[in-house]
């Protein structure tokens, strides 16, 4: 693996370069190279990748700037748009931050409901991600199974929040509505079945020698590089770093739950694809614990003033989303709208590892490495 990327003075596509007959430049994307509106400019020598340059930004929607013109409540539906499959987790840091700014307490039951919804959402996202990883590697069964089993949790989220995706469920002060009657039983039944199902993925996918041959020892990211490049989430944990925001900086009720971090040492594509799967099994454990410890009745939402104002203050909160640490930085200047809002998302921080990992790989391994970074283009562009 190369140590440094050569610095470039001009943006990609504009610089004058010496044309080498052996090197061919290939644009992968931006029309959906598998999944995601982003381009990877790959330079190949025969079948081997010499240089790779990711070029994100095609789906930039200015979410952060939009947030400055809307108040703290009407920001909710559009701030979850970057990752519609993981909408609770991307909204979580914003909601925690606004609670700090406005200074309201969250009822105990609402905290547990939030944790359950966030873990369900994490599973929904990882299942979708896994389905695409399967079809990237030509394993069509691995596309069908997660895409179908995902329905179990989408059904649960629909029962809780009333929407299949983009739930708009978390609000500063709690959640918008209580869970329906006998939700605990339905949830436990579906979580148990879901866990049984995803354990079967081990046989057909993760222990499959064909998958291992494709992904083992491709795109190896060492522990030191993972820390130096600032990667996060499953990419960091697959390289042997024990870091999970749920454990290191517990928010809501994660400190009362027994959260186990899954760490693998290899740092290759196989490890990076396996950590999210182990995370899903861990999520099932967390949901079961939360269902057990959740207060059976009680308030679910602290009433907020119609147009809440923050003080002259700034706040940064972060949570563990499906793709790593997701943070939200809010500056408030005694107005109903945030003065500045900045999202720090796992996808963008993991993308920086891509040129390092692709160098020296075969072109055929590119999808396996690219998608193992747990990268969601829309979230990275925000």
């Amino acid at each position: 693996m190369a140590e440094v990327i050569p610095t470039k003075e001009m943006p990609p596509g504009l610089q004058v370069e010496n044309v080498d007959d052996r090197i061919m430049t290939l644009n992968v994307g931006p029309q959906h190279p598998g999944s995601g509106h982003m381009r990877i400019i790959v330079k190949i020598d025969g079948d081997y990748i010499v240089d790779a340059d990711p070029d994100p930004g095609y789906v930039h929607r200015g979410e952060e700037k939009m947030a400055e013109a809307r108040n703290y409540i009407t920001n909710i539906p559009h701030l979850e748009r970057p990752v519609i499959h993981d909408s609770c987790n991307i909204l979580y840091p914003y909601v925690l931050g606004v609670e700090d700014l406005v200074g309201i307490e969250v009822p105990e039951r609402a905290k547990y409901v939030r944790v359950i919804a966030a873990e369900l959402n994490r599973c929904i996202y990882i299942q979708y991600w896994l389905a695409i990883y399967g079809i990237f590697l030509g394993h069509s069964t691995m596309f069908m199974w997660p895409a179908g089993d995902r329905e179990l949790f989408i059904d649960l989220m629909e029962k809780i929040s009333g929407a299949r995706v983009t739930h708009a469920y978390f609000v500063p002060g709690g959640v918008r509505n209580d869970v329906p009657a006998n939700f605990e039983d339905v949830c436990l039944r579906q979580v148990n079945y879901f866990e049984k199902r995803i354990k079967e993925y081990g046989d057909i996918f993760y222990d499959n020698p064909i998958l291992k041959a494709r992904t083992e020892d491709t795109g190896v990211l060492s522990r030191e590089d993972a820390i130096r490049l600032g990667t996060t989430g499953s990419v960091l944990r697959a390289s042997g770093v024990d870091y999970d925001v749920r454990v290191k900086e517990p928010y809501d009720v994660y400190d009362e739950l027994d959260v186990h971090t899954n760490v693998l040492k290899a740092g290759d594509s196989y490890a990076r694809s396996k950590v999210p799967w182990l995370d899903m099994l861990e999520s099932c454990n967390i949901i079961r614990q939360a269902l057990e410890k959740m207060p059976k009745s009680g308030s679910i939402r602290t009433k907020l003033k119609p147009n809440p104002k923050g003080g002259l203050d700034e706040v940064y909160r972060r949570v563990e989303s499906g793709r790593g640490a997701a943070g939200c930085y809010i500056v408030s200047k005694e107005k109903p709208e945030p003065y500045r809002l900045k999202l720090s998302v796992g996808s963008f921080r993991n993308l920086i590892a891509l040129p390092y990992l692709l160098k020296g790989e075969k072109l055929g391994n590119m999808p396996a490495v690219y998608w193992s970074l747990n990268y969601w283009p829309v979230e990275a562009d925000r």
């Binding site: 929407a163 222990d207 291992k212």
Partner: protein
């Protein structure tokens, strides 16, 4: 584990699923059953009632034309416009009521949270497709109609796996 055992294990795992019922919901014939009658909101407690966020239901005898739903939608989708209604209810002095453009609505339900008079709820109706853009704009008279929704299918989990039935 050797390569041969791994492949046999993987094949075996797939073969077992020949006996499992299909999970697919056959949509136009089967339709999912939802919790409750759609998302509602109780302004006295400030907490919603769980339900599907589908097409809105407007209760003409409660609506006062206060425009709070329209103001709540301003920052989200700008889907709600206040229009004149011919029949003048006692509580609605201005005789204006919300008209919702489902080409813009994102079904977040913040308008329902904003209504302090129990006048705007959401219903289980989600089949809103139309051949024209004008067909997506629902007038107050159309929003008043209670939707007839067929709900027969729900998720069943038994020894033969999960299915819709």
């Amino acid at each position: 584990m050797g390569t041969a055992t791994g492949i046999i294990k993987a094949l075996n795992s797939g073969v077992k699923h020949l006996a499992v019922k299909r999970f697919t919901l056959r949509y136009p014939e089967q339709k999912l059953k939802f919790v409750g009658d759609g998302y509602q909101f109780d302004p006295t407690t400030g907490v919603g009632i769980a339900g599907l966020k589908g097409r809105h239901m407007l209760f003409h005898d409660h609506c006062t034309g206060c425009q709070l739903c329209s103001i709540a939608c301003e920052g989200v989708a700008e889907a709600i416009a206040m229009v004149k209604v011919p029949d003048s209810w006692g509580q609605n002095k201005k005789a204006i009521m919300p008209q919702i453009d489902y080409g813009k609505c994102v079904f977040c339900g913040l308008c329902v949270d904003a209504c302090p008079f129990y006048a705007l709820y959401m219903s289980n109706d989600y089949e809103l497709s139309s051949f024209t853009k004008e067909g997506l704009i629902y007038t107050p008279a159309q929003l008043q109609v209670k939707p007839q929704v067929q709900q027969d299918s729900e998720l069943i989990i038994d020894k033969r796996g999960a299915r819709h039935g």
